[in-house]
Symmetry: C2
Subunit: 389 residues, 2 copies
């Protein structure tokens, strides 16, 4: 028996990320404009880096609190009071080793092998794999795509629920589609969860990147009540340009505290304290920086989407939230091949829709959290490529 | 139904670490000598910290290679050539977000829900929980404890193997017992694994802390052949005083590369690149520092163990490897209560043997990777406490 044949089927069947495949194909190419990953072009800001390096050089290199240092949990509490108008004590917050880690812990906390968890498709593929690797079964519900807009059909969602369903994974604003739940969507989903006794894992990582005329997207935090079973997974990556740090957090009922602490202990045993010092400063002193990032995204979204729409060969409208143009292009029928071709021909790196599950096969995803000049250049090259198809 | 009742049984049943319980009981007490955790008293050395802070301030804050940056994988390859006299290409190495994360990935890679994995007891409790949370079933085999020495009875190990057994988890030198597999032990275990088609997860984190008259403990690397199914989990924590960083690695067959990359992608999506820069320097320039740590441990082991043995009420002999005195004390029948009492009465923090599974209940664990003066003081207080029992 070969090495690979002797491994766990669930490990072997976890797919290679279709995004990483393109990254590995193109890494290091001269002049490439990388719109593939969910990552901006700014490094982490200096005031955040300094807080971390000061702590590291001061010797904060020992084991620390499994739930996160008290200062960071308090800073998260303050952040939610400022931006979500909710009063959640520090006991509701748990620091994790990335948003990905937060998602994995949330799934592990609520599901057992054999349970089902429903997600909305197309989706960030890591959500599907986190569910499957944990031993539960991922069940996708494709959103509807009509007239260039994505929407959720609640009856279809309810039809996916079985006696094995343990939870709903709701990512809003959505990566990659930009679909953003309306207040009514959220109310209906929560009512469904209550009726069927389901957990909701809410991934609202992109809540602040919202283009609907308010400071942030509608959130389950606006409507939930004491006792509702909702866990929020979040990350420092997008708001504070800290993708490379791998620090995230969970918002969860304090009754779950010991369970989450144990799952942290047995997965990575906590997050480096000197990194947490940077995260504290990001929250407490980073509002202006986040606002700058939001401004850049708003501007770049217009530049990229206007150019694509002007080709008359792209069906997708501007996204309501998140950081992606998820485009359906006339004449492209194999998004993986198209993504490789676009790298080779025009030096723009996109993520293939085939990486995002059912309903995404025909699309290409472009992350627009970059400077206007580079996005303009990419938009021009893409428009030309599309017109020539 | 309460929040906790609605969670996954496997998550709820993951026990609170019995070590963390004592830490939380005593954190912040004046004058406490903390011998509880597997952690030394030195902060990470400056030359390592500087490499990380330089990289962070230079903007290495973006997503990076899921398997680890090439420089770090090469540095690991060089390290193994120097200290283990093996020639393993960089393709054998995978960077993880702590030794704990390495263990979890190894377990996920080889087991499916329902599979069994055998470990040797007493053991670091996180090993048991990693197996159980992954969905597999942990099966303990207590080592024999005769005349103050731990040993492995191979026939008993073979008797634990069933048709569901997928692997053997072998931690040598062992935390907490100090048991260190002899070359014959290793040969016999490997023969057993080959005979039954089992994986070995080898946790040789303490290999360099060996007091048996050689530069390191015997290792599976000394006897394994191409095609043997062995994964090594390791960590920067103990050798380079980097416990708080949460960086570790796996050594595994290159055929597993894509599987491990995917498991990394879906658990924490990689390790911060600026931290990896520190790890590179630790390996390439840290041999003297590790030697200093080994020297301190060797000296402190003598001070602590000699004082304890001189009471004539401690059964345990000096450990052959690792960083712990695991002591069985006449008159102590409840190690958890004793650990709390010892914190309160003499300000020394130990880990209770009850935290380490079957066979450890009557013991107390003291980590001796500290300066001689503090270990002397702790040894004196402990000896006095023991004599008065």
């Amino acid at each position: 028996m070969s090495i690979v044949a002797s491994l766990s089927p669930r490990a072997v069947s976890a797919p290679e990320s279709g995004i990483v495949e393109i990254i590995n194909h193109a890494r290091g190419r001269e002049g490439l404009i990388p719109l593939w990953a969910g990552e901006g072009d700014l490094p982490s800001p200096d005031f955040i880096n300094r807080a971390a390096t000061d702590a590291l050089l001061a010797g904060e290199t020992f084991y620390t609190w499994q739930r996160g240092i008290p200062e960071l949990r308090q800073a998260l509490s303050d952040y939610y009071a400022r931006h979500f108008a909710v009063s959640l004590t520090a006991e509701h917050f748990y620091v994790t080793g990335s948003g990905m880690h937060a998602i994995m812990l949330a799934v592990q906390a609520i599901t057992s092998p054999g349970d089902e968890m429903i997600y909305l498709s197309p989706t960030w593929p890591n959500i599907i794999s986190a569910i499957d690797i944990s031993g539960a079964r991922s069940v996708g519900l494709p959103l509807d795509f009509i007239g260039g807009r994505w929407s959720l059909d609640l009856a279809k969602l309810e039809a996916r629920i079985t006696s094995k369903t343990k939870g709903l994974f709701i990512n809003t604003p959505s990566n990659p589609t930009g679909w953003t739940a309306t207040p009514d969507d959220l109310k209906n989903i929560l009512a469904l969860a209550r009726k069927h006794g389901l957990w909701i894992v809410a991934d609202e990582i992109y809540a602040r990147y919202y283009y609907g005329g308010a400071a942030r997207a509608p959130s389950f935090l606006d409507i939930m009540e004491e006792g509702d079973r909702i866990i929020f997974a979040n990350s420092f990556s997008k708001n504070w340009s800290m993708t490379g740090w791998r620090v995230g957090w969970l918002v969860a009922p304090p009754e779950m505290g010991q369970v989450i602490e144990n799952l942290v202990q047995y997965s990575n045993s906590g997050v480096a304290q000197f990194m947490q010092r940077g995260a504290v400063v990001a929250l407490n002193e980073g509002d202006d920086f986040v606002q700058e990032n939001i401004g850049r995204a708003t501007k770049a979204r217009d530049i990229l989407c206007d150019a694509l729409i002007a080709t008359n060969r792209v069906e997708t409208l501007k996204p309501e939230g998140a950081l992606y143009a998820f485009m359906k292009v006339d004449g492209i029928t194999d998004s993986r091949r198209a993504a490789l071709d676009i790298v080779d021909k025009i030096g723009v790196a996109l993520a293939p829709g085939s990486a995002f599950g059912e309903g995404g096969e025909l699309f290409l995803r472009a992350c627009f959290l970059r400077n206007s000049q580079q996005v303009s250049e990419a938009a021009g090259r893409l428009a030309e490529y599309i017109i020539r198809l």
